[in-house]
């Protein structure tokens, strides 16, 4: 990562070397070579296998018995009968525990998401587009806290929350979730690169108040970054393990991620002392699938926004 590169690089050595006379043939030659070079395609495919195989295996594992899991082809379909049996066994575990955990996760993540967006978007906007006393300090604080490994604060957060007697309350994780400096920084970056200041000035000239400018000009253009922040926040909160692991002592309050750990403890192949409440490996696979489904669905819907959000930055010149 060199720090001295600038736009001027375009007119660098590459431009000096090839004159107009040789340029055309050279380009055709390169194009031909690119067409036959199989390396990029190979690399891309290899990584497809790396990323997709475990997911595929997981999908299929839920349709098998434990014997099929060990004996059969790892990428074969078991049977709907086995899937049904796994489902029944899983949902019977501690009387619907899996659904309770999923409900908890949904509640914690969505409440935190709403607060995050309401808090982060105005803050990012104000820091990007306006000047006020303490702006730079707030920006730096945001960056610092964002970079701070937040799990190192879990123990101190526990002490703080304990001091105000909120341990075991859902707010003990929802409020820390809602504090999402990464979201503020994303919004800041988005507004400072994608929102033309001239647009704001025009609105001001037309007599808009500062709140009016935000509501009528900035907010409608902020849809991509709201989707982006909401998406990242939801995924981060849904998949958080450490904080609820520490803050929520009651088994029926657990989000599904921590619940999976409880299930893992009941799988005899991984924990020989599991005892009576045995969970078979395919049931654990099915539980894992259920745990990730909401995030997957959210991603399917948000993907369009994700790319649109990134592209929006390109309109600035």
């Amino acid at each position: 990562m060199r720090t001295d590169t600038r736009w001027g690089i375009v007119a660098g050595p590459a431009g000096i070397r090839s004159g107009p006379a040789v340029r055309e043939p050279a380009r055709i030659g390169r194009a031909a070579r690119r067409r036959v070079n199989p390396l990029p395609a190979l690399v891309l495919l290899l990584f497809v296998a790396f990323f997709v195989l475990p997911v595929l295996w997981l999908l299929l594992a839920a349709t098998k018995t434990d014997d099929q899991l060990v004996g059969g082809n790892p990428l074969s379909f078991g049977s709907f009968h086995a899937l049904r049996a796994n489902w029944d066994a899983l949902t019977a575990y501690q009387g619907d525990a899996i659904f309770r955990w999923l409900r908890n996760s949904a509640l914690y993540s969505s409440v935190a998401l709403v607060i995050t967006v309401c808090v982060a978007v105005p803050a990012g906007y104000a820091m990007a587009m306006t000047e006020f006393r303490g702006r730079r300090a707030l920006l730096i604080a945001t960056l610092v806290v964002m970079l701070m490994p937040n799990a190192t604060l879990v123990v101190p957060l526990f002490l703080e929350v304990n001091a105000v007697h909120l341990i075991g309350s859902m707010w003990s994780i929802v409020l820390p979730y809602a504090f999402y400096p990464f979201g503020v920084y994303l919004t800041y970056i988005y507004f400072s690169t994608a929102l033309p200041r001239e647009l704001l000035d025009a609105a001001r000239l037309d007599g808009c108040s500062e709140f009016g400018v935000f509501r009528r000009v900035a907010l409608p253009l902020a849809a991509p970054v709201i989707a982006l922040v909401g998406f990242f926040s939801f995924v981060a909160n849904w998949t958080n393990y450490y904080l609820p692991y520490v803050m929520l002592p009651q088994d029926d309050q657990l989000p599904v991620q921590v619940g999976l750990g409880t299930l893992l403890d009941s799988v005899p192949q991984f924990n020989p002392t599991a005892g009576a409440l045995e969970v078979q490996r395919p049931e654990l696979a099915l539980a894992t699938l259920l745990a990730i489904t909401p995030v997957l669905v959210v991603f399917l819907f948000a993907q369009r926004f994700l790319v649109a959000g990134m592209l929006a930055g390109a309109t600035k010149d």
């Binding site: 475990p54 960056l143 970079l147 799990a151 190192t152 002490l159 995924v235």
Partner: protein, 304 residues
């Protein structure tokens, strides 16, 4: 995404940022500031306070730090995290940037979108779910790549999760769940590079490699640094992977593997929150120093 800005354009940006009359700006950031104080500043203060006091609330100097340092688990935990970070950050930068460039070059936009989606899918399995999947993948008896593991000479789960393998295994898990999201981000950043610059480079005779090395990667710099900082912060937090692995192996592998696990055990097993806070503060200081170096050297505040 802007080009690395010059002093002149930065000054221009400052001029055009409108000073707000009254307290409008403060109103906009008020709610965020409250959260920042409550869940950023106060716990940090708590950590520092606890790190320098004993359980009778009197000043303890550095004794908590030396307790942590002298603990037989501390040195190994530091080594584990450093080794893991080295693997994790290098593979992240090389492969994420490489894959993003390759995907971006593809002529068929539909296929490119499909690939990005496939790379991203495991992102939905971040956290405990992904670790569970990898417990299966790393178990030769049920793994989809069991043949590969056996070819490498591993026939039992216990052999695969040998202590020396853990940094690479945790890197695999983290890369599997985390890289796809960054590929999407890098792809977006690549899209933000104006087409006429790439066109000019092409006309000037730059090939794909040269364009990538001399134009695209330098213009991705800001995002790469951003990725490294966040990945570093995430990497030092290593907790759920070794925690679940230690559950799955009956404490054979992954117990007290990372600093966070150590802090957890100090706080909740040994009831020694002061030593736990000392470990937290140490992690915090390391994180801040590295972040500071990145920020200062990369011109991360160019957009300011």
């Amino acid at each position: 995404m802007t080009a690395p800005s010059t002093g002149a354009s930065r000054a221009a940006a400052r001029r055009t940022r409108t000073p707000w009359p009254g307290s409008a700006g403060h109103t906009f950031v008020a709610a965020y500031t409250v959260l920042l104080v409550a869940f950023g500043v106060v716990p940090t203060g708590y950590a520092i306070y606890f790190a320098f006091t004993d359980n009778a609330d009197s000043f303890a100097g550095l004794s908590n730090f030396s307790t942590a340092f002298d603990d037989f688990r501390f040195g190994p935990a530091v080594g584990h995290v450093v080794l893991y970070l080295a693997w994790w950050l290098v593979s992240l930068v090389v492969f994420v940037v490489g894959l993003a460039l390759l995907v971006h070059r593809m002529a068929m936009k539909g296929l490119s979108r499909l690939l990005r989606f496939l790379y991203y899918v495991p992102g939905a399995l971040a956290g405990a779910a992904g670790v569970l999947v990898w417990l299966f993948v790393l178990d030769p008896t049920v793994s989809p790549v069991g043949f590969l593991l056996r070819a490498l000479g591993y026939h039992a789960f216990g052999q695969v999760i040998a202590p020396g393998h853990l940094p690479v295994l945790f890197t695999l898990i983290a890369f599997w769940t985390g890289a796809g999201g960054w590929i999407v981000v890098m792809y977006g950043a690549l899209n933000n590079i104006p087409a006429d610059i790439l066109e000019a480079a092409r006309i000037d005779g730059a090939g794909a490699l040269q364009t990538a090395w001399r134009i695209q990667i330098p213009m991705l710099r800001k995002w790469i640094v951003y990725m490294v900082i966040l990945a570093f912060a995430g990497g030092t937090q290593l907790f759920v992977e070794p925690q679940l692995l230690s559950q799955a192996s009956n404490g054979v592998a992954g117990r007290d593997y990372s600093l966070n696990q150590l802090a957890y055990d100090f706080a909740f097993q040994n009831n020694d929150v002061n030593t736990a806070a000392a470990v937290s503060v140490e992690l915090l200081v390391v994180g801040l120093v590295v972040a500071g170096v990145f920020v200062a050297r990369s011109g991360f505040f160019d957009a300011d």
